[in-house]
Symmetry: C2
């Protein structure tokens, strides 16, 4: 403890320094930092006195991108309660694992998820589930937040899947979020009139990190419940926002919508994450003078850790850029740091990198050494130190900004009584970037609609295979390990029955 | 050690991330970060191989604001050598104390200070003194800097005087400098095209902090050997710089020079430190639309810690503003935190605050508790939390941005054989803000020119009393403690002989 860094209570400090600056715009409503701090304190009182959540407890959070969801997240920080951020696109079966794994002390949910919360209730300690409406109706004026925040305390836990096994909870400390925000500011700059548009989910690090930046920079968030390209197009054209976070699929929809017009000159940064970007898209952006910053990052790095500036984006086509100032990057090949141009596993280091996964000693031992986090992704650096990501870890499929791990889908598929083997890969999709495709060895006559129906209750919608191919056997190596790469060849060779 | 934060070697990282951005302009010369990093590495090689300065040693630095002085400071960082920053305006007698106190391993000096360095030689371990020209003529291409910087290691030591006793060396770690730079950016914002004009001394924290910001932000410094108001006026008017650090005396000279013109709209911040500012000056600034940020800070806080934005500068006239985001402020009265409006000692806390003075256990015990640094200054906070500084610590005199402690001058004065008692206060000066005035009780006939002559070899020029008053006795309280406040009344009452 004694070496921990303590900073002033972040939101309280922000409300003290710039009380009248705007913090949030959502729909027709606007709130200053003074107002959002007051709102957070009243809700922190409810968390403590009504929901009985003491400092150091953990609350599952099942929300949407709304003002009350945002206030809840601020209130949890003020109350010192760790937020276990639940992806509202997952099935209850998927969420059940996460809330059991972290053993949350309560679930707080958007009222629209009432039925889901009721189903999850039996898996929560003392069946404690609370709708946001209950919080809003029982605001408590009496709450004294801590004067300082222990930067090593855990602010959020977000689940990420992996090559094998169950999803893992990534521990994100205040320190991680702080350095992520500072590293980003040192790269993108910081202006008093910045407004960051958030239409990415608050339960993902892409959205949550915007909240942290807002508090630390004193910057306005323009929050949207969902991404509507026509609405966002208008915002970008009228100059009401200066920065936006998007994934490739959003950018594509924006480009279809931009027409002959162009974005306002005050719009200065489109932060683009979530997988590779086709060259043609970048060229369109250049033509339209859209200031695209490509990024590479993950839940474990508390948002971007490597970013490519617009001025380099065509010359260094396909590169993810260079690390943020406080961060480091290396390529590891055969256990040693690889020279420029040599492929290997991408390793990253920095104060924004998680200290590890919640209660996953083995995975932590494997992924963390000497402060370096082994990402599992494959890439190389060129002679100027620009990173090129060649293969996302473990055949990761990125679909509309969501990460999908083949192993997770495969394990659901083989649990079907008629399926003896399953292999999943990502295939290109104009709409989503990639979508999952499954290759099945079945024991009886089976059609793809039956398989999809089976998946529906067990997998989030975006994980359900778009294509299902029935084959006689799966390509495997001598050790019987599935060769996912070779599945792609099967499509080209046409060696299957597509019953879709 | 294990809990220390390590960051990538700061200058190396900057040169990797933005090699072609301009780092320094000095006279006719410009240098990119790639160039200044290469320059620093070659000189770090000289430090190690020619001057035999290993990592962890301490070098006294007696330089001017020149490119080679700047390169030396960067080279010392690369070599891991702590820079003991010597104020070149001090007398050798004053410097002798400092270099003996820190026991420097070598002195590196600007060639213009050749005679002074020779005089100081006997007081340095092994009489190791090196002119910058020797460094410049023996550049060593072979040097491998550390990949990471231990943020707790000491980057610089700067001496500051105090109420009583000898000057104390303030230990400034990389961590202190980092958080100072980040705190400032979160307050002032950060733009890719920022250029910071530095005409304040590099040996003071006001100048040195600009170097740290430049590295951390990737920002250009426009360095001047001295402050020339006509030259600076031109820079401000043509829009070639966006930020400048000044002290009150500089601002006054600028205002005399501005004429009917006005500064360029790209000039966005005049960071004004070093004591109080007359209201009339602020009003002139407002009229001329000069974006003045008043600040409160000290060597112990590694530059500003409290800053007032231009929009508050007239409404909150006389206030020093609010703390930087990562910093805290409180007023201590009777050992307890005082409420708004109550006067007391100003205490500050933050990662930019020094861990203490070099080998001054007693002073450290007195000034540091619980992370709080007791500044010795008196002030209060208003109900919105704006700080008002009422009295600088121990009758501190601030003359042209230099701190002068009466006790130091008094102890020199009483060492004169004919002076039995001495009291010093600051009196107003149009040119310098304040200048020292001395009140002497003498044992024989004495004139002020003899006294000033006596001071010349013992005190930096700016410390020599501008006015000398001979009196029969000094005002003292019952415990025989000098009442400096009452000296001012003597002037009003005319109870003295001014032999100036």
């Amino acid at each position: 403890m004694e070496n921990h860094v303590f900073l002033p209570n972040l939101l309280k400090q922000r409300a003290y320094l710039t009380p009248e600056r705007r913090a949030l715009a959502f729909g027709e409503h606007q709130y200053t930092f003074r107002e959002v701090y007051a709102a957070a304190i009243r809700r922190a009182g409810t968390l403590k006195h009504t929901f009985d959540l003491e400092q150091g407890t953990k609350a599952g959070v099942l929300i949407k991108n709304t003002a009350s969801g945002y206030f809840l997240l601020l209130a949890l920080q003020q109350a010192g309660v760790t937020a276990v951020m639940l992806n509202n696109r997952l099935t209850n079966e998927e969420l059940e694992f996460q809330i059991t794994d972290t053993s949350i002390d309560a679930l707080i949910y958007d009222d629209d998820f009432h039925n889901r919360a009721n189903e999850l209730k039996p898996f929560i300690n003392n069946e404690r589930v609370f709708p946001l409406s209950e919080m809003e109706s029982q605001l408590q004026p009496e709450f004294e937040p801590l004067e300082q925040v222990d930067m090593e305390s855990i602010c959020t836990i977000m689940y990420t899947s992996g090559t094998t096994g169950n999803p893992k909870g990534v521990l994100q400390s205040y320190n991680n979020h702080w350095w992520s925000a500072v590293g980003s500011a040192l790269n993108l700059g910081l202006r008093e009139d910045d407004v960051w548009l958030c239409a990415v989910p608050l339960f993902h690090i892409s959205g949550y990190s915007i909240i942290m930046r807002s508090i630390i920079y004193g910057m306005e968030i323009k929050l949207f419940e969902r991404f509507d390209e026509a609405v966002v197009d208008q915002e970008l054209k009228k100059g009401s926002i200066t920065i936006i976070s998007v994934v490739t699929a959003m950018l594509q929809r924006l480009l279809k919508n931009i027409g002959e017009g162009s974005y306002h000159p005050d719009f200065r940064c489109m932060l683009l994450g979530g997988g590779p970007v086709p060259k043609s898209m970048l060229e369109q952006c250049k033509e339209k003078r859209i200031p695209v910053y490509q990024t590479y990052g993950m839940t474990e790095t508390s948002s971007q850790i490597v970013t490519l500036s617009p001025e380099d984006s065509l010359e260094k086509l396909g590169s993810a850029g260079k690390p943020l100032f406080p961060c480091e990057l290396k390529i590891v090949s055969n256990g040693k740091e690889a020279a420029a141009g040599i492929e290997g596993e991408i390793a990253v280091r920095g104060q924004n990198v998680t200290k590890g996964y919640y209660k996953r000693e083995e995975a932590n031992k494997k992924s963390f050494a000497d402060g370096w986090f082994m990402t599992g992704d494959i890439g190389y650096r060129d002679d100027q130190g620009f990173l090129y990501v060649l293969d996302r870890r473990s055949d990761l499929i990125i679909s509309g900004g969501e990460n999908i791990y083949p192993a997770e889908i495969e394990s659901v598929l083989v649990s079907h009584s008629a399926v003896s083997e399953a292999g999943v890969i990502g295939v290109e999709s104009e709409e989503w970037g990639q979508v999952p495709a499954a290759f099945l060895v079945s024991e009886r006559e089976l059609d793809s609609s039956e398989v999809k129906e089976f998946c529906r209750s067990r997998l989030a919608r975006y994980k359900i295979p778009h294509h299902i191919y029935f084959v006689d056997s799966l390509p495997r190596n001598a050790s019987n390990k599935l060769l996912r790469k070779n599945l792609r060849e099967l499509i080209q060779k046409g060696q299957f029955n597509d019953n879709q």
